[in-house]
Symmetry: C2
Subunit: 460 residues, 2 copies
């Protein structure tokens, strides 16, 4: 039996078999038993090997020695591909070997026949990948990252691993995590004069990055087009289904960018191209995730041109419809999610809101030369999730940057970037998990990341 | 002029022009002036746009209005491609527009004509990408990551973003960074009974990950084949040119792995395939980096089969040659870098050292059933860098795991993975920067990562 398994060990995994094999092919598969049905002559096993959300049936003769096959166990099966009455491929196995026992009755939290709510599944984080919708979600996440890397490489961008340890807190929001060695001995051993003990390792206060943008900009002045798809961290006390303490940001910077319309065009083309690619590589897993979260499986925003409107226009639309809004309009704080979704519905398409009041946006955004109260910023608003991307032209004039009232201290280096060959640049950032929520329809961000970290929860 | 630049704005970047254009083509380029030579009738500009380490020459008529063109400035040039006397393409420009002034005389730390040592360049981290060898290194780093993602996707692995915030310190080495919110107010606001104040956010002590392996294993039991290419952190007081406080680990896990030889085979094929791909996509940048670090440009290990030897055999080789070694042999601590390089030279090829003494290796490695003092572990030793990969079969028996004297507390979940359907698994980890040092010949690890973090240094 062992011999047979090894002999066949080159055979593909189930996803591959479904695509490339044909009836009559002899092969072996290995996987977890998801379900067992025993009829008079045969036992029917649903097998999953992690490669697909499709069920794959293995038919084995009902013999005493196959009587112990149970959900959760891992088997190797050798046999021939046949077409089942429903048209699917199935494996008619002449030999089955048990590789490991399921032992699900000994405290396993999931029932193979029951659909558990995501909140319950999340409580058993270390076993969660064995649940079909979580595995499908992880495959989609992988293919979405792959599609982004492929697209950006094709467009000649250089991926930069922006640092996660940093001495600046970027937008100065204050919601940062602080980092220091755990060992008091190490701190003592490394301490230098006039440095507080907890800062001994780096000789300064060090935080976890909230965005890679500023570092990406530094690299853009040598490489022209750069991007990052890196973890970012926020120490917020938020229980929202749209926020995590540790999440991933996709950020890109482009030299020689002088027009907001070009940035909007780039983002629209990139998101449409990446999503179309994802539909090609993960169509089945995407549908599975969408069905599982009871959401709509067509993504109408792929088919229509996206809109651009100014902040003033957007504000006017909201003011004219304020009776339909759940939240009051604020002139100091941007739009609420409810307002963002209203604007998307009003436009019948995703919409870039541009030309924002300067006082609502960070210090690095380019000030309009014709109206210093406005900056060349954009927010991309999408159905279901609201704001998906934020971007801007960056202020290229070192004198204007330097006199900005909110320029953080210790960012002399950032001003320096513009001093020598300060070419116009611009870029954007996108919360990667929010994108995954958009395409899969998953309601809670904690279910689109393998190991969610949020207030009062850092399991494993 | 602005009109012309926009009209031509679809033209490729220099790397693309060198590959796809032909003499006589009209086009525009944008980039930084690296060098200026003025002859009687013409001015010769070396232009770099971040896309290649090749110099690209722009020839402009020597006119009074072109007199201000200087290194560091950014220009747009419009003209026709011609072949220079040395056979290279060059652009004969009829129009040149200055997009931003260089102002290098106002404190810029690098001289355009001088080759600065990497230690000096590193002191000016924010401007470093403008130095040719650093830009080349960053492009190589990007293409190496791309090659890894492509290979692993092609082999049907699922990329998992293993968490960077974790409550376990993996191998229990103690050299971990601790994480907590910077805001005392937030800590107070979130504090719960019986939780120390600094742990308020997550209700437990949280560290930065030193390895994604354990989390990756949890995902492997649902997905079958997984990998991660993620940041990892170590709070060591090491000034070594092979260590950083923040670095990248490439780790993979495979279900149904029962033989060390198959793991060694996978690693060898993967590294050869990824490196050959890198030579295809980045040959020029690789040579540039190698020349810049005075290292050998052929990688002879691509051409030969790699060796496997047991720990006992390796020890015997070293003992027979102890007079040639710089460091004494230890029976408790593995090999020194000097000894590793001796073994590689002795074998005339990269070598996998397998079957290690159990007491030298972590708790999760599979104990040999025929000799409980040995574990199924491998170290891959390479020329120049020594150990590049470490891997093992993982202990699949929950009872053996549970009774391991060094099983960290709070890892009940890890034992649980084996309890239900505990299929045999195995995997490896590779320091990504060490791989980059191997292929580029760069001596100091601080020069293969965009923003190096090490003791007493966390700039920007």
């Amino acid at each position: 039996m062992l011999f047979l398994r090894r002999f066949y060990s080159k055979s593909g995994r189930i996803a591959q078999i479904l695509k490339t094999n044909k009836p009559g092919d002899s092969l072996a598969i290995q996987g977890w038993i998801k379900n067992v049905r025993r009829l008079k002559n045969n036992t029917f096993l649903d097998i999953n090997d992690g490669s697909t959300s499709s069920r794959f049936q293995v038919v084995v003769p009902r013999t005493p020695e196959n009587q112990h096959l149970a959900p959760g166990s891992v088997i190797a099966a050798v046999g021939k591909i046949q077409v089942a009455p429903n048209g699917s491929f199935e494996l008619h196995a002449n030999q089955v070997e048990m590789l490991a026992e399921g032992r699900l009755q000994e405290g396993y939290p999931f029932s193979p026949k029951q659909k558990h709510p995501p909140e319950y599944v999340r409580e058993h984080l270390h076993l969660r990948s064995r649940v079909d919708f979580v595995a499908a979600q992880m495959r989609v996440r992988h293919k979405a990252q792959k599609a982004i890397h492929d697209y950006m490489d094709d467009q000649d961008f250089v991926q930069i691993n922006t640092p996660l340890l940093t001495t600046n807190d970027c937008e100065g929001a204050g919601e940062v995590f602080r980092v220091q060695p755990d060992s008091q001995d190490l701190l003592k051993q490394m301490n230098r004069p006039n440095i507080p003990m907890e800062q001994s390792y780096f000789d300064s206060k060090v935080f976890l990055s909230v965005s890679g943008q500023l570092h990406l900009e530094a690299m853009t002045y040598g490489l022209g087009k750069t991007y990052t798809l890196s973890p970012a961290f926020r120490a917020e006390n938020s229980k929202s289904p749209l926020h995590l303490a540790e999440f991933y940001m996709f950020e890109a910077e482009l030299a020689h960018l002088e027009e907001m319309e070009k940035l909007a065009q780039f983002i629209e083309q990139m998101l449409k191209s990446v999503t179309n690619r994802l539909l090609e590589t993960s169509g089945e897993d995407l549908s599975f995730c969408q069905r599982n979260s009871n959401s709509n499986s067509d993504l109408p925003w792929l088919q229509v041109p996206w809109k651009i409107m100014s902040y003033d226009e957007a504000l006017q639309v909201l003011q004219e419809n304020k009776d339909s809004l759940k939240t009051p309009i604020s002139l100091n704080e941007g739009f609420s999610k409810d307002q963002e979704l209203f604007l998307v519905a009003h436009c019948g398409a995703p919409v870039f809101v541009v030309d924002w009041p300067a006082q609502q946006k960070p210090f690095y955004m380019k000030v309009s030369r014709s109206n210093p109260n406005r900056v060349h910023a954009l927010d991309l608003l999408m159905p279901a999730v609201g704001e998906l991307c934020g971007g801007s032209l960056r202020e290229s004039d070192p004198a204007i940057l330097k006199s900005h009232p909110h320029l953080p201290k210790d960012l002399e280096w950032y001003v320096d970037l513009r001093k020598y060959g300060g070419v116009p640049t611009g870029g954007f950032g996108m919360g990667f998990e929010r994108y995954l929520q958009l395409v899969t329809g998953v309601k809670n961000i904690r279910d689109v990341i393998p190991f969610p970290r949020y207030p009062h929860s850092c399991k494993m």
